[in-house]
Symmetry: C2
């Protein structure tokens, strides 16, 4: 296969972890006889610094003409504490999600047996955890009208959903549930929000098309609790944009493997693959960031092209590295810590 | 002191747990020479069944003419899975919060040494956890305009905040931080939401009035993670209504003592005190619900009247019961489980 992949390294540790994912992907391509044409493009604070906006048209052109996007991380502290900043790296991410039609963010949370002890949760609570969130990514309060009135004294953000938006996300949820243990949880706040009531009634109406799927409806606050109490009671969860933002991050620390959690954003022909961690400014340039989440995001990318074996090759080399202790300092636990590059080299060499 | 307390038992296990809090409060009143005049009133599903609405005017009159409100729980499953229900128990709760001006929901999360092992988290992660959330309770997306358009195909919920709303909540946060370890965390999503940017800029502007308080700003998704990873790194957290709903519930399970967490809602002269747990329909009428969160909410009520010793008397009898194993089945851990009533009797007798 010939693959054109847009490479958006972004900010902070983004470039370092992306570099490793490229190495590993190239090794996979070589082994399986594919050809990857990487097309680097600017995004995030890096793009603001270079050309004044976080998702330049040129970057969009490159993404649109690629088969997939591999993404590092964006965000820079210089923007966070300036509520009046006019341009922000995050706007680039949102613009890109919308422009590429990436309405479904797929975020798995799973455990690595060798890392169970890393979790803040007790082992018996997390063993066997293997859940996937499908977070709606191009609607809701993120994209509704927002602004100020009364001379800046009043701020507003509108949350809007259409039935069609809910349906297309829920459809992916039902389909995913069918390939797994056929359990779907719709997370909402239908006791308070009208958008949540639309979510709930839409999903309820779809149940009859998937008679084998057992659907449950839970309030977002209850899920925030139960994720900590019994994460392994969940399988597939579907939810709106903001709830998904909060809950997927919460879920990510449960496994003790946050530095290892990949994600995919799907919707149109072009998928975007990125680690769920952020730009981690404190670690930038130190060769200490864990590249495995980005490497596993590349695995999701291959799998999304239907290249299951290629994805598996990556997953198993990551497992091997974990078992052999070829890990960055976040996982070294007093043992030898490898650098970001060294972990990448090892993974690529052992594909 | 002569106290008029509105008693809103509500739904599910509400009446059972309220009954115990009344017993214990009466014992405290007797011991310290106070007189409590309890004024029962209808709310929640119980009120809908009786008079067609969840927070009847008569109930509001009773609350308004009381010194405080002691509240059980509301919510009934028959409304949850009917997105088209016209009247819901929760509307009563929201109406009451607004009508009584209860803009600040105070939700502590603390650990009981004897219960550390109950937590889903590892002991070393939670030891020493003692944090308080101040959740804004009468604004934001809960109270913004909501509805449908396009013949029901589009739903919307508006999130609105004014600077004044943020200021009054933040002021309570700064003041509370001054009485504790002088650390305040403002939780928002300022990288995406305009209302969050208003929150952040408003709190930033107040920093100079509290030079001793160390203020941090964190995104809601990051807090959802760090609450699980290092709950004991937090002290006072302030946040808007919906984020507070999700995060306080998440925080409540961290201590392993969810059935014990009380809360206060303040703002006007009349405070409302309630356990943070819900109406727990499955346990209704079985005499198995843990009444301690409601009893500790009564302790917060006494303390809010300036009756510190009275509050302390309740806290210490609860501690004693925990140490002696006079607990309901959720905490019995294979040992003898007492009934709801029996725990209440024991607490009242040992004040
Ligand atoms: C950076 C931010 C805008 C983004 C979001 O909130 O969606 C991030 O938290 C994420 O989850 O991908
Ligand atoms: C019952 C519901 C409306 C309520 C809320 O969301 O505020 C509850 O979850 C709470 O936190 O008190």
């Amino acid at each position: 296969m010939k693959l054109n992949i847009a490479l958006l390294a972004g900010d902070g540790i983004g470039p370092e972890v992306i570099e490793q994912a490229v190495k590993v992907s190239d090794a996979v391509a070589k082994k399986f006889g594919h050809e990857i044409n990487w097309k680097p493009a600017l995004t995030g604070a890096a793009a603001i610094d270079a050309v004044g906006e976080p998702y330049p048209d040129e970057t969009h052109e490159i993404c649109k003409n690629s088969d997939a996007v591999l993404f590092g991380a964006i965000g820079h502290p210089k923007f966070d504490n300036d509520p009046s900043a006019k341009v922000r790296p995050e706007q680039g991410l949102l613009k890109m999600r919308k422009a590429l039609g990436l309405f479904a963010n797929v975020r798995p949370t799973f455990t690595f047996p060798s890392l169970l002890d890393k979790s803040p949760l007790k082992k018996e609570r997390i063993e066997g955890t293997d859940l996937v969130f499908l977070r709606e990514l191009t609607g809701g309060i993120y994209f509704g009208e927002k602004g100020r009135r009364d001379e800046g004294e009043t701020a507003y953000d509108n949350c809007v959903y259409t039935r069609a938006e809910v349906q297309r996300l829920a459809k992916k949820g039902f389909e995913l549930a069918m390939t797994r243990s056929k359990k779907l949880c719709c997370v909402d706040k239908a006791n308070v929000l009208e958008t949540s009531r639309l979510w709930r009634e839409t999903v309820q109406a779809m149940e009859k098309d998937y008679p084998e799927v057992e659907v449950s409806y839970e309030f977002v606050d209850a899920v925030a609790m139960r994720l900590v109490q019994w994460p392994n009671s969940y399988d597939v969860l579907i939810t709106e944009n903001l709830f998904g933002d909060i809950l997927t991050d919460e879920a990510s620390v449960i496994s003790g493997s946050m530095g290892l959690m990949p994600s995919a954003s799907l919707g149109s022909d072009i998928g975007l693959f990125e680690p769920i961690h952020g730009s981690y400014p404190q670690a930038t340039g130190k060769n200490i960031a864990n590249p495995m989440a980005t490497v596993l995001s590349a695995a999701m990318m291959f799998e999304n092209f239907g290249l299951q074996e290629e994805g598996k090759a990556i997953r198993s080399v990551v497992n091997e590295a974990l078992n052999k202790g070829v890990v960055t300092e976040d996982l070294a636990d007093g043992g030898k810590a490898y650098g970001t590059k060294e972990v990448g080299d090892w993974l690529a060499a052992n594909i």
